[in-house]
Amino acid sequence: MKRISILFLALIALPFVSLSQNSQGKTDDMGRVALTAFVPEQAEGIPASARQLLQGKMQQIAVQNGIGGSGSNPRFFIVPMVNVLTKEITPTAPPMHALTLEVVFYIVDASNQTIFSQTSITVKAVGASEDKAYIAGLKNLNVKAGQFKGFVETGKTKIMEFYNSQCDVVMKGAQALAGQKKYEEALFGLLSVPDVCRECFDKCMDLSIEIYKQYANYKCTEYMAGAKASWAAMNSDKAAEFLGKITPDMECYPQAVQLTEEITQKMLADGANVWTFKMKQYDDSVDKEKLMIQAGKDVAVSWAYWGASANFNWDWNWLYKK
């Protein structure tokens, strides 16, 4: 009887258990690897007007096969190479350019100069000029072709294998950069590790907190010096600007508080009642670790974004000038 009752209760509870589960599909673990679509200058023969179109097509190939393209992680790229297999120019009015193009796509590690995956597709292109023919041919490039799935999958797997096997190298590289005070670049390298490479990701996150602290302290000294110099010049607004950049997680925070206090007292003594500057404060409930990771990410993204051309001026000759 007792058994029947338990079974009965279990049967009643079953629908609720099922309902409580999220019916949304989970993001594929591998889907979190990022790849940048890019047409290097060295990819010769592609008319300027067709480059943007080709880049868009590659972005679509990446996204449609579950790999998020990200302009701020330019280490792993999807790049093209276009070979003209046949070219005919008809003696008609207007002359028509008929091209057979072989478009080869590569997923590469631009830093290590390694090809992870490749595939090629042949397109027929016709137009009243060569540029128009290229555009017409690339426009018809079918990004849903079955071959691209395998191409991207192989690329993703290789990227993950890279992080799993080269995690120590990535971390040592970051530490070395931090030693040279290149904190932003170091943080960028650590925070580029996809979270699907769980073990490496966790280690890199821990290290990124450590490096972010070094970065924060380094910046703190800079801001304090700026604030002191401004105050010495009796420029309270400028001093406030520097002090405003100092957050409670920075080592020199107490000194900043002290300077703020000093400035406030002096201002009050001088009869000025308008200096309402307050130092930043954290709520106790804030997860400081998470906050530091996020701050580190912001630093890395900003560094990659603003300095992208200078920071990622990869040499592509290894791929195009064989």
């Binding site: 009015a93 028509m96 017409a136």
Partner: protein, 317 residues
């Protein structure tokens, strides 16, 4: 005397019926273009690098936009041909229509957002077309103070590549005449001779059928080739047999034949079918397509190029 009258009456009747039938037949289109030599001499060429080889093609658009003499020569030929019953297509207008059509195709969308289907072959065909090209060349000769014009007009069948009419010669040298006047004189002096030959070509076409070209090829997906046997005959023989039966007096020549392609030239197809309907090469080749499908279950794709060229690719549609 009575016999003579009857003979005359029958002759007149035949002439009327012949010209009536010709007017129903699909007429070839004619267009005047400057020759490659003229374009090259006058700097109206486009130069391209075709995988290491320099290719030069005439830039008709530029020539028409910049050279007033060319415009005059074309306009004079057009005018004289029209008054002689051969209205011509105008190259400049044809080029403008092509440009206009290309823009229209690019903008055309359905309510659902669909675009117009256009294969690379469709695109390749977006060029000025004519069944007969009248290629015009002239050079100005200067002997001391005297000037004369050497004029050459060639009528070329765009499918058979044959010259079907031609007129050339040098006009009288003149001290005072301007180039446009000399050009006009040259056109006038040669156009009638040219037209006689053109008319002879049309008469021959009516009597012996239109001369066309047929290419037969196979898709790579086709399980077989032209040596594959059907009912004890190779596919080449089957096709040749059909062409023999369906050409005027069985006239054609097999210019090229391999296991993958057949080229038939000087194929004389009738201008009218059994139901007295006008026939072009595609309509004629469609019957071959039907025969291959019905009798041998061979699917094929039929493509045309103007009135005088058709291409049948066997294996699938």
């Amino acid at each position: 005397m009575k016999n003579k009258l009857i003979y005359l009456f029958i002759s007149a009747l035949l002439l009327v019926s012949v010209s009536g039938a010709f007017s129903q037949a699909k007429k070839p289109t004619i267009m005047v273009v400057p020759s490659d030599v003229w374009c090259n001499t006058n700097g109206y060429m486009l130069e391209f690098d075709n995988q290491g080889t320099k290719v030069k093609v005439p830039d008709y658009k530029k020539a028409l936009q910049e050279n007033a003499d060319l415009l005059l020569a074309i306009s004079k030929v057009n005018e004289l041909m029209a008054t002689r019953g051969f209205p011509l297509k105008n190259l400049e207008s044809a080029l403008k229509t092509l440009q206009d059509q290309a823009a229209e195709d690019a903008m055309l969308t359905s309510k659902g957002g669909a675009e117009v289907n256009e294969s690379p072959i469709d695109k390749l065909k977006k060029v000025a077309k004519a069944d007969i090209w009248m290629q015009i060349t002239w050079t100005v000769n200067q002997t001391g103070p005297k000037k004369s014009v050497t004029f050459n007009l060639q009528g070329l069948d765009s499918y058979t590549d044959k010259q079907i009419a031609g007129a050339s010669g040098t006009g009288k040298p003149s001290f005072s005449a301007e180039l446009p006047v000399l050009l006009e004189e040259a056109v006038l002096a040669h156009i009638d001779n040219f037209n006689v030959q053109l008319q002879a070509h049309f008469d021959d076409m009516f009597a012996n059928g239109r001369e066309v070209i047929l290419r037969v090829k196979t898709w790579s997906s086709f399980d077989g080739d032209f040596t594959t046997e059907y009912d004890g005959k190779e596919l080449t023989e089957v096709i040749e047999g059909w062409i023999t039966e369906n050409t005027v007096q069985g006239r054609f020549s097999t210019t090229d034949a391999t296991e993958n392609m057949l080229l038939f030239e000087q194929v004389r197809i009738p201008l009218m079918d059994a139901n007295n309907k006008a026939v072009d090469t595609r309509g004629w080749a469609r019957n071959l397509q039907k025969m291959l499908r019905d009798k041998y279950q061979l699917d094929s794709k039929l493509m045309m190029k103007g009135l005088g060229q058709a291409q049948l690719v066997i294996g699938e549609k």
